[in-house]
Symmetry: C2
Subunit: 148 residues, 2 copies
């Protein structure tokens, strides 16, 4: 399903990733959208929080859970700049999110690399990849290039 | 590697699971052990926290991160009554835990059911399963039987 808003919302996820970059965190950003509105944001804060689980997606969906007072997000879409890892894919599974949209693929730590076909999600969860892929990948690559 | 303490520590994880049971949560408990001491505990609090990610393992390791002021747990063992799900396996991967010991297998949501061989963990991470397996499985089965 082509959604003309996907690029707009991925830009917003990229703004979150930029915040991570500026804080010297691996630059991944995520937002949660419901009814075409951004209800939660998150960027990677593993270093700041000293917490290996503080990925952008986890922070964004737990923020959404808190906002809604609900442990499920069946009407929400998560936009994230990088393919979710196994942990985040699992969290999105448990959170019953409706749709996942990601930018760049992650051939090393992305969930697709580690999970069996047909993947960990029920068939009704829609997954869209490659939105602003080049921009999302460029941000990650720039970060690790600067680190070297 | 047979560790005579494994049953003792799994009993402690079972105590955590019992707390979850008593709070009407799916009864899974976890503890983090370092140098033969329990440094963190967690039990499933998905309902209480309205947070689909609030699994026992996540709460136990984030508690350990906070305690140690470290985002890695390379000297720690996690004991958990049930085979970790994909999310928790991913979190344990990121947390660089040294060893994982679990009780009952989870053929539906356990990480082994969803991940490709050889699994998501580096070879140096030791994984022991089946410690107090019957007790751990019984607690889960009792919970779902009571629910029906």
């Amino acid at each position: 399903m082509l959604d003309l808003n996907d690029e707009y919302f991925m830009q917003e996820a990229l703004k979150e990733a930029q915040k991570a970059y500026d804080e010297d965190e691996v630059p991944v950003g995520a937002i949660v959208v419901m009814n075409n509105k951004i209800i939660a944001r998150g960027h990677n804060q593993v270093e700041l929080l000293n917490d290996a689980t503080a990925h952008a997606e986890i922070l964004a969906i737990t923020s959404a859970f808190n906002l809604l007072g609900s442990k499920y997000l069946p009407e929400a879409t998560l936009y994230v700049t990088l393919e979710p890892c196994l942990m985040c894919a699992g969290a999105l599974y448990w959170g019953k999110i409706r749709r996942i949209v990601y930018g760049a693929s992650d051939v090393k730590n992305g969930y697709l690399h580690h999970t069996k076909e047909p993947g960990p999600f029920p068939a009704k969860i829609e997954i869209t990849k490659g939105i602003l892929e080049a921009e999302c990948a460029f941000m990650i690559q720039s970060f690790f290039r600067d680190k070297r």
